[in-house]
C-alpha cells in the first residue's frame, strides 16, 4: 500500500474529483450508447447485422463519407488560402479578416443555411440576376441537392479549417522561407518544398477537425439537400425521435465513434499527434 502511494504524485489528489467527473460525464454516456447498440430491441449483434441486410444503411454511410470527404477537401483548401492571406497581409486587414471569421462562429447554422437559399435558391438573388441579364433561361439548381449541401457545409466549415492553419502558419519562422529564396528557390519551389511541408501538421489538424465535425451535420443536409441527401447524423436523429429505433441509432453512433478513433489511430501511425494538436515535435 505504501509502496503504491509513494508512486502516486500527490497532485493527483487535487485533480481526481475532476477526473471522476469527466469520466462520468463523457465515458458514461458513451458506454451507455455501446450498451444500447447490443441490447435494444433485443440482446445480440442484430443491429450491426442490419448494416449488411439490404443496402440502405451502407448507402447512408457512403453518402455521409462522400460528402464529408468532399467538404473537407474544399474547406481545407479554401481555408488554407484564407489563412495564408491572413498571415501575409497587413495587420489591419488581418484584424478585419479575423473579426469576420470569428463573427461567423456566432451566426447560427440555420441562419446561414437559409441565407444560402435566399442567395442561390431557385428564385434567389443569383438566379434572378442571371435570368434578368439573360445569361440563363432556367434557374440553375444550386440548392435542394447534393451541390447545395456541399456549398452550405463548406461555407460553415471554412472558419474551422482556417483556425488550426492560422496557428500553424503563424508559428513558422519566416526566415526559413527567406533562406529558401536566398538559396535560389522560386516562389513555388519554396511553397511546395518548404512552406507546405512545414504547415502539414496544421493541415492534418484542420482536416481532422473539419471531417469529424462534418460527420455530425444534419441541419444543413436536411434543408439544402431537399430531403434527398440523407446523412448518418440526420438518420440517427430520426431513429431516436421519430421511429424509436434506438438500437439502430446507437449502432450508427458507435460506428461513427469507432470510425473517428480509427482515423486518429491511422493518423498517429504517420505523424506525432502531439504535433497536430499544437504540441512540440521535439
Amino acid at each position: 500500500m505504501n509502496a503504491v502511494a509513494r508512486h502516486i504524485h500527490p497532485g493527483w489528489a487535487i485533480i481526481a474529483p475532476l477526473l471522476v467527473l469527466v469520466v462520468a460525464l463523457y465515458l458514461g454516456p458513451i458506454l451507455n450508447i455501446m450498451w444500447l447498440s447490443v441490447t435494444d430491441p433485443e440482446p445480440g449483434l442484430g443491429n450491426y447485422r442490419k448494416l449488411f441486410e439490404g443496402d440502405t444503411l451502407l448507402r447512408i454511410v457512403w453518402t455521409t463519407l462522400r460528402i464529408c470527404v468532399i467538404t473537407t477537401v474544399f474547406s481545407v483548401t479554401l481555408g488554407y488560402s484564407i489563412a495564408y492571406a491572413m498571415v501575409h497581409c497587413h495587420q489591419r486587414q488581418k484584424n478585419y479578416m479575423l473579426t469576420l471569421l470569428l463573427v461567423s462562429f456566432w451566426i447560427s447554422i440555420l441562419v446561414r443555411t437559409f441565407s444560402w437559399l435566399m442567395l442561390l435558391g431557385r428564385n434567389g438573388l443569383v438566379n434572378n440576376t442571371l435570368e434578368t441579364l439573360g445569361l440563363i433561361s432556367a434557374p440553375i439548381a444550386f440548392m435542394r441537392n447534393e451541390l447545395g449541401v456541399l456549398i452550405g457545409m463548406v461555407h460553415y466549415m471554412i472558419p474551422y479549417a482556417v483556425l488550426p492553419l492560422l496557428v500553424s502558419m503563424q508559428s513558422l519562422d519566416s526566415r526559413v522561407m527567406d533562406a529558401s529564396r536566398n538559396l535560389g528557390a522560386s516562389g513555388s519551389q519554396t511553397f511546395w518544398r518548404i512552406y507546405l511541408p512545414l504547415t502539414l501538421p496544421g493541415i492534418v489538424a484542420s482536416t481532422l477537425l473539419v471531417f469529424i465535425l462534418s460527420l455530425g451535420f444534419y441541419v444543413t443536409p436536411a434543408v439544402l439537400g431537399g430531403g434527398k441527401v440523407l446523412m448518418v447524423a440526420e438518420y440517427i436523429s430520426v431513429q431516436l425521435l421519430v421511429t424509436l429505433k434506438w438500437g439502430t441509432a446507437a449502432m450508427l453512433a458507435a460506428l461513427m465513434l469507432a470510425g473517428v478513433l480509427a482515423m486518429l489511430w491511422i493518423m498517429s501511425r504517420f505523424m506525432k499527434l502531439s504535433a497536430v494538436f499544437g504540441g512540440s515535435t521535439r
Binding site: T56, R59, I60, T63, W106, I107, S108, L110, V111, F114, L117, M118, G121, R122, N123, G124, R144, V219, A222, V223, G226, G227, K228, V229, L230, Y235, S237, V238, Q239, L240, L241, V242, T243, L244, K245, W246
Partner: protein, 369 residues
C-alpha cells in the same frame, strides 16, 4: 430537433416580413443574430410542472398564444389551475426518453393520435379517463385508450396557378402526373400523407387505403422522385412555396390559407382527397399535475368554443362534430371538416401508423434518398 424547427419558423416568418416590408432590415438581422442565444433560452424552458398548474408540451411559435387563449383561459376559469408551456416539441422519442428517465415534467402533449398507439402499450402514457373526457366529442375511431383526438389537421396540396392556368390539378392523380403537370413537387419527408396520396394517385380508393401497400406507394413516390423535393417542417414548405421553388406541394392544410395570402393568391389550396390527421392530446405516464387535472384540461379543449378558437387562431379543424356546423363561412374553405369539404376527405388510420410508422418512415427515407 423541434427547438430548431421553432427557430426555423421564426426566422422564415420574419424573412417573409422582411421581404414584404413589414420588418426592417436591422430588426431581421438582429433576430438572426439573436437566434443562437434564443435557441438555448427556448431549450432551457421555464416550464416547471407542479400541482397548481398543468404543463402543456407543444411546438412553440403561435401555439403558445393560441392554446393559452383557446383552452387555458377556460380551464383556469373552471378549475383555478394555471397553464404553462414547454415548447420543445413532443416528438415520440422525447416522450419515451422523458418517461424512461423518470423525470416527467409535462402533463399533456400536443401529439399525433398514432403516438398514442405506439407509446401506450409500452407503458409510456396514462390512459384517457373517459368519465371526464367525452368519446362523443370527437370523430368515431379517434377516441383511443391512450389518447383522444382534439383537433384535425390535414394533408392537402397547393398548386401554382400561373404554372397550370386553365387546367389546374384537381386530385392526387394530377399531383403525381408530371407529364401533364410539369414542375417540381414538394412532399412531406416523414412519409405520412405522402404515402396515402401516392396510393390514391395510383387508384386506391380513399376508404380502402389501410393496411398501406408500401411497395406500391413507394414505387409511385419514386416515379416522380426526380421532380420532387421533400420538406420536414411547416415553415420549410412555406418557404418553398412562397419562393416558387415548387409548382405543387403537399401541405398541412391549416397552412394553406397563409400560403394563399403570402403569394397573393398565386398558389391555391386543393382540399379534394385531403387526408384528415387526428391531432391528439396524450399524457406522459406519471405526469406531475395528476390525472384528474389533465383530463379536465383535455375535456376543456373538446368543448365547442375551444374548438372554434383553435380553428381561428391556428387553423386547426375541430374534431368535435358538434362544432362542424359552427365553422364561420370565411374559414370553411380551409377547414377540412367544414360542410364544403367533409365529403371530399379521407381519414388517417392511427392504429396502422402507430404499429407500422417507424418502418414506414425508414422505408420512405430509403426510397427518396
Amino acid at each position: 430537433m423541434q427547438d430548431k424547427q421553432f427557430m426555423k419558423e421564426m426566422l422564415t416568418e420574419s424573412a417573409h416580413a422582411y421581404k414584404e416590408g413589414r420588418m426592417d432590415r436591422r430588426t431581421f438581422l438582429a433576430l438572426c443574430g439573436a437566434s443562437g442565444i434564443a435557441m438555448n433560452a427556448v431549450l432551457a424552458g421555464d416550464a416547471q410542472a407542479a400541482a397548481d398548474h398543468v404543463v402543456m408540451w407543444n411546438w412553440g411559435g403561435q401555439s403558445v398564444e393560441c392554446h393559452g387563449s383557446a383552452i387555458g383561459e377556460a380551464f383556469t376559469a373552471a378549475t383555478g389551475k394555471g397553464v404553462k408551456f414547454d415548447t420543445s416539441g413532443p416528438l415520440e422519442g422525447k416522450i419515451k426518453e422523458m418517461v424512461d428517465s423518470g423525470n416527467v415534467t409535462a402533463d399533456v402533449a400536443d401529439a399525433d393520435l398514432f403516438n398514442a398507439v405506439s407509446l401506450g402499450p409500452t407503458g409510456h402514457l396514462e390512459p384517457i379517463d373517459y368519465s371526464i373526457v367525452s368519446k362523443d366529442k370527437t370523430l368515431p375511431g379517434y377516441a383511443l385508450e391512450f389518447g383522444v383526438s382534439v383537433i384535425l389537421y390535414g394533408y392537402a396540396f397547393v398548386y401554382d396557378t400561373e404554372a397550370y392556368g386553365d387546367n389546374p390539378p384537381k386530385d392526387w392523380k394530377d399531383f403525381f402526373d408530371t407529364a401533364n403537370f410539369p414542375g417540381t413537387r414538394a412532399l412531406y419527408k416523414w412519409a405520412n400523407g405522402s404515402l396515402e396520396a401516392a396510393l390514391m394517385a395510383d387508384g386506391v380508393a380513399g376508404d380502402a387505403l389501410y393496411p398501406l401497400d408500401m411497395e406500391r406507394a413507394l414505387n409511385k413516390i419514386k416515379s416522380i422522385k426526380d421532380d420532387s423535393i421533400y420538406w420536414g417542417s411547416g415553415s420549410e414548405v412555406h418557404s418553398m412555396v412562397v419562393n416558387s421553388e415548387v409548382t405543387m406541394a403537399i401541405v398541412w392544410q391549416n397552412r394553406g390559407r397563409n400560403m394563399e395570402n403570402d403569394t397573393d393568391g398565386r398558389f391555391k389550396l386543393v382540399n379534394n382527397q385531403a387526408m384528415a390527421m387526428p391531432g391528439a392530446y396524450i399524457v406522459p405516464k406519471g405526469n406531475p399535475a395528476g390525472r384528474e387535472a389533465v383530463m379536465q384540461f383535455i375535456a376543456t379543449a373538446q368543448e365547442v368554443p375551444a374548438q372554434l378558437k383553435l380553428l381561428d387562431c391556428l387553423g386547426m379543424t375541430p374534431s368535435n362534430p358538434a362544432a362542424f356546423g359552427e365553422i364561420p363561412e370565411d374559414q370553411q374553405p380551409y377547414a377540412i371538416t367544414s360542410a364544403m369539404n367533409i365529403d371530399k376527405i379521407v381519414y388517417n388510420d392511427p392504429t396502422w401508423w402507430g404499429e407500422n410508422g417507424g418502418d414506414a418512415v425508414n422505408a420512405f427515407l430509403e426510397a427518396i434518398s
